[in-house]
Symmetry: C2
Subunit: 203 residues, 2 copies
């Protein structure tokens, strides 16, 4: 029996998907939205966490993946499988960094999700072929960590002065970072750089 | 028998939701992503179009609702039911303008979707109670049509000069519009106004 915790923020979808998975005799499925996922991991002790990478709680949709697999706990953490899209490589990269073992393309069939869950439960890696291009793009992420911090603040509506204050930088340095970001993302200007980076899932 | 066309851009979700609806003896369900929805409406001639308001094809996620219910065709257009969220009032407003008869909250249960489809098939209005607040916010949309056009171009990364050129306005007028938009949305600056407006579903 594989204990699965399904993490998805859209209640209607989560409910139908959970029912669909529960028809499999080898799965015992519980489900939760992202905001209560960390607590449920502790209570359910799932073998596999199957988590949708689109998270509606946070303004920019970055899911708190690290909270699903806390390191250093007494019991082994659940194996992580993510439901992902090839056109948001930034989220794929985050899942990779969080140690996800399974990557199922949401543009694929639900049967692939089943296969993924069973493989990941065995401790094996599972990647839907169609996500390949997304991983390629993820490897090409053009921004440094510092540039991402600057852009994240800008996307929240902070001014150059506010960004400079938050990151202990001079105004000129912030402007230089913004210019580099605009160039590297191929954007026309700051707003365009934010738009592109959010679309790709970097922000 | 109610012929339903389910419109949803996430293949895995669409497939599971379609299977779930198909278990009902009174429904005959077909499904499609947004990009092929208009063609499928013509081919399937559904009684009810059940369409997810989140549309991944367009950069800003505004679904082409008008294409689902073409006016003036030979046969009566399908009745439109939308899967919506209270926190994106801009999309609720668009659905209202497109003549949608049903509004089902995605934060609710799939059973409500079933009830909605059956009610709408009878030609009756159906609104999940929890969407009430969203409609209230939709009625309060602070921007004029002109301000929305300006902000839409800004969100696509256009500069003041480019916006002025596109809309045949002076640079000063565009700046005045941007200032009004920033004030009315309660934003800190232009980037913040875009962020807020996209979050609400106005853009």
């Amino acid at each position: 029996m594989i204990r699965v915790l399904l993490v998805h923020d859209v209640c209607l979808v989560r409910s139908v998907l959970s029912q669909w998975l529960s028809r499999q005799p080898d799965l015992r499925v519980e489900d939760t939205p992202w905001r209560s996922a960390p607590g449920r991991v502790g209570a359910v002790r799932p073998d596999v966490c199957a988590a949708d990478l689109d998270c509606s709680d946070d303004a920019y949709g970055i899911p708190p993946l690290g909270d699903l697999c806390p390191r250093g706990g007494g019991t082994p953490p659940p194996r992580l499988l993510v439901l992902a899209s090839a056109h948001r490589p930034g989220l794929l990269k985050r899942a990779l960094e969080a140690g996800a073992l399974g990557y199922v393309d949401k543009a694929g069939t639900p049967e692939q999700l089943l296969r993924g869950i069973r493989r990941v439960a065995q401790g094996e890696r599972f990647v839907t072929e169609s996500l390949g291009f997304g991983f390629l793009k993820a490897a090409e992420m053009p921004l440094t960590r510092r540039e991402l911090s600057v852009l994240t603040l800008a996307a929240e509506g902070a001014s150059v002065a506010e960004i400079a204050g938050s990151l202990h930088l001079s105004h000129g340095t912030v402007r230089n970072y913004m210019a580099a970001i605009t160039r590297k993302t191929g954007a026309r200007n700051r707003v365009d750089a934010i738009r592109i980076s959010q679309g790709q899932g970097w922000l």
